[in-house]
């Protein structure tokens, strides 16, 4: 199981800015190891986010997203105390969900 994500959600007016920092290797499949063998691709493919249980975002990522990816998005109508949950799934089928409260 991967390390937890760091999620920060801050309300400003009737919107909330959500910043997510995930912990993932994001191997591209282009790199070679010391023995000259290609390191197989291992990266997050799907990211979804929900606001109080209702899905608001889905994203697809390729291997070109940086290691330990960062993502920021803005949820309309979110206020302090609301729950934001983020889930990712990588190409090995690993998945992780973390939740944060809007402040």
């Amino acid at each position: 199981m991967a390390d937890p994500m760091r999620i920060r959600a801050q309300a400003a007016g009737d919107k909330a800015t959500v910043r997510v920092l995930m912990s993932h290797e994001m191997e591209t499949g282009q790199r070679k190891d010391a023995a000259g063998k290609i390191v197989p691709a291992w990266h997050i493919q799907e990211v979804t986010a929900s606001h109080n249980g209702k899905q608001v975002l889905s994203a697809e990522w390729g291997p070109a997203v940086s290691k330990n990816p960062f993502m920021q998005f803005v949820v309309k109508g979110a206020k302090a105390g609301d729950k934001i949950a983020v889930t990712w799934k990588d190409n090995r089928g690993d998945t992780r969900t973390d939740e944060a409260t809007v402040s």
Binding site: T28, R31, Q55, E60, V65, S66, M71, V74, V75
Partner: protein
């Protein structure tokens, strides 16, 4: 005759199929492998469902002029246009151009920020695909002083 092992295998396969099919809320959430395998910007946008490409001032791309480290280049895409289905970020000279697809929804601002790897200095594209298949793009050249791929 079927052994117990085979029966188990079959039921696993069926469960897998059900899991794959049982995702109706966001039907388009299936991973768009064709788009991510596409080498060029045009091919990737086409694979994502964008038909006619046109430059537009309504799409904003946020990226630095010079990236000191190609492994972590902050990139943002935003637009105020209504009816945007997908927002794409692409790096032209990467082995595969497409970096990320964001599917907007009514409860989100069309404003996303992430970090991407860049192998070398290249044009970066932000593409907004509208519901009618129109693809509006904005681009910016980003100079990389240290590559992010291959290391």
């Amino acid at each position: 005759m079927q052994t117990r092992r085979e029966t188990l295998k079959h039921s696993l396969a069926v469960a897998g199929l059900l899991a794959a099919a049982g995702f109706p809320q966001f039907a388009h959430a299936a991973y768009n492998k064709t788009a991510f395998d596409a080498k060029s910007v045009q091919d990737a946008v086409k694979a994502a469902g964008g038909a006619s490409l046109a430059e537009s001032k309504d799409v904003t791309l946020t990226a630095p002029d010079i990236a000191e480290n190609g492994a972590v280049v902050p990139m943002g895409v935003s637009t105020a246009l209504p009816g945007v289905k997908q927002l794409l970020i692409l790096v032209e000279k990467n082995p595969s151009a497409l970096v990320a697809i964001f599917h907007g929804s009514d409860s989100l601002d069309n404003n996303f920020l992430t970090r991407a790897k860049m192998g070398q200095s290249s044009d970066v594209y932000a593409v907004a695909i509208l519901a009618d298949g129109k693809a509006l793009w904005a681009k910016k050249e980003v100079k990389v002083t240290l590559g992010g791929c291959g290391g």
